[in-house]
Each structure stands twice: as C-alpha cells, then as structure tokens.
C-alpha cells in the first residue's frame, strides 16, 4: 500500500468524532500544561495515561490524546517565556532571551505570533518527515537483532545522560536508579522474585506511572512549597497577536532552519526538544547575528528555537514508533503507555498497527491546525490561567495526580509509593540530578535485560557476540562518543577561547 493510501486510512481514523475530540482535548491540555511553568508535558502525559487505561480507550485514540499533549505543550511553552520571562517548559528556556525583550519593547504580539506560526510550520514539517522517514527507518531496523537493540538502548542512555544534566556522573546515576527500579518484581525469564522483600504488591514491579507522577508532579509540589510569593502577576499585556508579512518573511529562514535542525535532533535517541531549541538558538545567533541584535529582541531568536522544539517533538516520535526506543522522558512514558496496551513499537509497527501509526500521523496534521487556531487568537485566554492563584492550582494538580495514580491499580499503596518517589524526586532536583533518565531507565530496563539475555542465549553465553556486527560496533562507539563529547567540546571551547577570540564552527 502506498503512503498516500495509508495516510487516507489514517485520516479515516483521526476524523472519527471521538478521535477529533481527543486530539482537541490533547492540544488544549498540552497548551495549558505548556503555559503553566513547573508543569511540563511529562507530568501532563503521566497523569493522563492511567485515565486513558481506565477509560479503556483504543490504542490509537489514547496515542492521539497523549501525543497531542506532548506537541501541544511545545506551543504553549513560549507564551510565558515571552510575556513573563518565565519559561513554561525547559524547551522554551532560550525563547526568553529575545522573546521577553520583544515583549518589553511592546512587541509581544509579533513574538507570540511568530512562535505559533513557527511551531505550526515546524510541526507540520516534522509530521511530513515522520511519514517519509518512519517507514525507511523501520525497514533498516528490521535487521536489528537483540545485540543491536541492546547497543541502541545503551546509545540512548548515554545520549540522554550526557545532555540531561550538568554533572555526567549524576546523570548516569539517575539512569542506573531507573534501571534498578526496573529489576524490582518477578523476573519474567525465570519467575524468580527480585527485590520484592516479600511484598506481594511488588511482584508486578514498580509501575512507571506511579514513579513518573511521584518524581515529576509531587516533587514539584514540594519545590513550590519553598517559594514564598503567593501568585504570579501578569504584567505584560498580550496586545494584538499579529505579524506583518514583512516580519514573517524576515523570520522564515530561521523557522525553516530551526525545523530541519530540530527534526534531526529529535530523531536521535536521547536528544529531545530542549536540546533542539538550545542548539537552534546558538546556531541562529551565529548565522544571523550580524548587527548584534540577538538578546535585544530579535524575532529570529524566537522563531528559530520555537520551531526547533516543535520539530523535535515530532522527530522524537520516529525512534519511539520504529525502534521502540524513546529519546526523552515524555516519549518514554508514551512507550510505557503503548506497552501497557499490548502494542510493542518496533519495525513492524507500520504493518501490524497501521491504524495506530497512520491515525497518529493524520491526527498530528489536524492537531497542528487546531493548535495554530488555539494559540493565535486565543492566546490571551490561556494567559488567564496564570491568574488562577497557586493555592487553587497546586491542590488541584495534586488531586489529579492522586486520581491518576490510584486508577493505575485501584490501590492506595501506589499513593504511598508515589509520595516516596516525590521525596526522592525532590532531593534529586535539589542535588542537581536530572529526572528524565530515571524514567527512561525504568521503562527500558526490562526490554534491555530481555535483549541482553536473548543475545546471550543466541551466542551461548559468549559476551563478544554483543560486539559482533558492524551496526553493534557503530552504536557502541557512538555511545562512548556521545558520553564524552560534551566534556571534550567544553574543554576544547575553553582552549579555543583562550587562543583566538573569533567565531568558530560548532
């Protein structure tokens, strides 16, 4: 079947009333989650996954809803970056640099407009990319055996660890903690209970949703208890969200560059929207900062990174769908959700579950249009959520977390476990450990062990089998390089700065 036919079939799935409603709800929730600082897409998705399970939604519908939150959040994240100098998401941190300056100059309207339009172009481009590159990558991945998968997961772990935090050792510790949690429960290979301490409740293992909601949502509540100010004040006025044709074309180059860059960064396992927006800003600055306007309200400094993070969100779905190896905390939760619905993403996804894949692709075309409409004329409405006082907002989010966690297994024990992980998450944040690797480790741990043991069964216990194919060796080398590259680059950068004070290629 041709891609076009498949896409039409996907639209047939996405255009059913239920799925349209879910795509819209996902985009709405995503934008809200994006606007609210402190609550990110990972929290939003983690709270909603158990609800989609409990509602017994079909997998394609659940994925349409959850993915909507993920890419919708990329739209909303720019709003507070521009208006308040407070990034709504980590992926919108660099947007504050020029976005807030524009708002201070009374140009909040064009900044918000270009962020929404750039996000739309990037989002659409990344769906097109997903459509074309997804099947190609799936064909390549079909030759992957357990040894290749293991190496690929190691590569994903080293990428996310090297990019996630400032201290590589701590990021690696976070990954290992996730893997440790993944080994709790009955070992599927030999039916031996591991680390259950005689607790029957732990035989099924730790549910990634309980851990994720604890680590992200509950720890955020504990962090927010430290801040003394009572409410956010929306000082900047939104004004008319409008952009002149001239300004649009001025920024178009940045949008296209940001989209392409973001897409390819998103495809890499372990690198996601935050990395993409950061690199895009650095790149834009090098290319476009001829008159030293960056950081002083240059529209291209908003257009580039905001496009990049959206394109990356789309790109990140490719390794998730075609390889079953997610590249970020949020896509790890999406993987967990799919596995929970007995859908194992991988090279055969396009053949075995065409409704899920093509339904998602089609819904993303529709969702991006919805988001453009939601974010251009209605951005003022979303800003209003910031006027809701914290003493209403935080208890409500907590209550939703409770409902989410409780509905995983209908067990109050999970609420205790979640609170425990809330404390762990809080301490880890304070001590500068990244949290996303924990979730990635927890979700991938079981698959990783399964592949390792399968590989060992094939080779009869010969460990050199893990390095026997070219793909394996390449992936292992890439894993090592990505682990140490940032360290080496910063060292080199410092040396270069001392040697020559000029622009260098990255």
């Amino acid at each position: 079947m041709s891609s076009f036919q498949s896409l039409m079939q996907g639209f047939a799935v996405a255009l059913t009333p239920l799925n349209l409603l879910l795509a819209f709800s996902g985009c709405m929730v995503g934008t809200m989650v994006g606007v609210l600082p402190g609550i990110g897409p990972i929290t939003g998705v983690a709270i909603l996954v158990p609800l989609t399970f409990a509602m017994k939604l079909p997998p394609e519908s659940a994925l349409i809803l959850l993915a909507g939150i993920y890419y919708g959040a990329m739209y909303g994240g720019s709003t507070t970056s521009i208006l308040l100098n407070v990034p709504g998401e980590t992926a919108s941190v660099v947007t504050t640099l020029d976005g807030y300056q524009m708002a201070k100059q009374g140009r909040a309207g064009p900044a918000l407009a270009i962020a929404a339009i750039g996000s739309f172009i990037a989002g659409t481009m990344s769906v097109v990319g997903l459509m074309f590159f997804g099947p190609i990558l799936a064909k390549m991945a079909i030759r992957f055996g357990p040894a290749e998968y293991l190496a690929l997961m190691v590569f994903a772990f080293s990428m996310i660890s090297s990019l996630a935090g400032r201290n590589l050792a701590k990021a690696l510790i976070a990954t290992m903690i996730g893997l440790m949690c993944a080994t709790v429960g009955l070992d599927p290979g030999s039916a031996v209970p591991r680390y259950t301490f005689g607790q029957m409740k732990l035989y099924d293992g730790m549910d990634f949703l309980v851990v994720a909601i604890g680590l992200f949502a509950i720890s955020e509540v504990l962090v927010l208890l430290e801040e003394t100010h009572t409410g956010q004040s929306v000082s900047a006025t939104v004004g008319k969200v409008f952009i002149s044709i001239k300004e649009f074309f001025f920024a178009l180059g940045s949008i296209i560059r940001g989209s392409l860059l973001g897409f390819f960064i998103g495809v890499l396992p372990g690198a996601g929207a935050s990395t993409a927006s950061f690199i895009s800003y650095t790149m834009e600055k090098r290319i476009s900062n001829k008159d030293d306007t960056f950081g002083k309200g240059d529209i291209r400094g908003v257009a580039g990174p905001e496009s990049a993070n959206n394109a990356a969100a789309g790109g990140a779905l490719i390794p998730l769908i075609t390889l079953g190896v997610p590249g970020s905390g949020t896509t790890a939760i999406l993987l967990g959700a799919l596995l929970g619905m007995n859908i194992v993403p991988g090279p055969l996804m396009f053949q075995n579950h065409p409704n899920v894949v093509w339904g998602l692709v089609a819904s993303m075309y529709i969702g991006n249009v919805m988001l453009l409409i939601l974010n251009l004329p209605l951005v003022g409405l979303f800003v209003k959520i910031l006027l809701v006082p914290r003493w209403i907002l935080i208890p409500l989010v907590t209550a939703l977390s409770f409902i989410g966690v409780y509905s995983v297994n209908n067990s109050p024990f999970d609420i205790l476990l979640m609170s425990g992980f809330g404390v762990v998450g809080y301490l880890m944040r304070k001590m500068d450990y990244p949290l996303a690797p924990v979730i990635l480790g927890l979700v991938l741990g079981e698959l990783m062990e399964k592949n390792l043991r399968r590989a060992m069964s094939i080779s009869g216990g010969d460990w050199s089998y893990l390095f026997s194919s070219t793909i394996c060796i390449t992936l292992w080398i890439l894993a090592v390089i990505s682990l140490f590259a940032p360290v080496i680059f910063t060292k080199l950068g410092e040396l270069k700065k001392q040697a020559v004070a000029g622009d260098e290629e990255i």
Partner: protein
C-alpha cells in the same frame, strides 16, 4: 558534603543490591546468564559512579530553612493520610480535606480553601465517575 553522604548511602544500597542479586536462588536456567547478570552489571557501574561522587562532590545545594522542611513534612504526612483515608472516608471527603489543607499550606485562606475543596472534589468525582467511567471509592463509612 551532601554529595559525599549520598555517594556513601548509594554505595551501601548498591552493594546490598548486588549482594542480593548474587545470592538469588535460581531453580533452572532458562538462559545462559539468568536473572543475576543484569542487576550485577548495574551494581558494578553504580559502585563506580558512587565512588566517583565520594571523590569528586559538587558544591553544596542550597537547602531550605527548617520551617520549610516542617511544612514539607506536613504535606507529605497529608499524602500518607490521603492514601489511608481514600478507601475508608471515600474520595469526596478525603479529597476535600486534602485540597483544603494544601490550599492552606500555599497561603490560601482556610474558608476559601474549604470552598475550593468541596467544589472541586464534587466536580472531579462527577467528571471521572459519571462522565469518564473511572471508578473512585465512595468510602466505607458511606457504605461504599
């Protein structure tokens, strides 16, 4: 100092974790490496990283003052309370109490928090149970 302490604690946990894996009793071997190998690899790597943390700690994080710790413990205790109250008192009552308490902890007026608690727990219950069909406990004291 914090990193040294966590490094030390992590080392103890890791060694315990590795020891447990090493002593796993395996009845039959389904595959050449069995359930021990993977945890042992993790334990090995984590031992190395926690030693690294002991040797090269970061600078001290800024910990909150005592009063904030106290507030945090109250909030955590309320979560534990919620976990136990949910089944006996039911979703409506437990959630009302929890939301009221949290609103108060985040500097809301007590009566406003109570109104928020009552209204939102009713709304949430209606939305999840009646609209979305997600079961929530009615509470033993209400005969649920």
């Amino acid at each position: 100092m914090t990193d040294r302490i966590t490094g030390g604690l992590l080392l103890i946990v890791t060694l315990g974790y590795g020891y447990q894996a090493y002593n796993l009793k395996v009845g039959f071997m389904s595959d050449p490496i069995g359930p021990k190998a993977f945890p042992l690899i993790i334990a090995g790597l984590l031992t190395f990283f926690s030693l690294y943390l002991l040797v090269k700690p970061d600078e001290e994080p800024d910990w909150p003052i005592w009063k904030v710790w106290r507030n945090k413990s109250f909030v955590l205790l309320s979560f534990v309370f919620y976990a136990y109250a949910l089944v006996s008192l039911g979703f409506l009552l437990a959630t009302t109490i929890e939301i009221t308490f949290l609103a108060f902890m985040f500097q809301g007026k007590l009566w406003k928090g109570l109104v928020t608690g009552v209204v939102s727990s009713l709304l949430l219950y209606t939305m999840f149970v009646h609209l979305l069909g997600i079961p929530l406990p009615l509470g033993k004291i209400f005969g649920g």
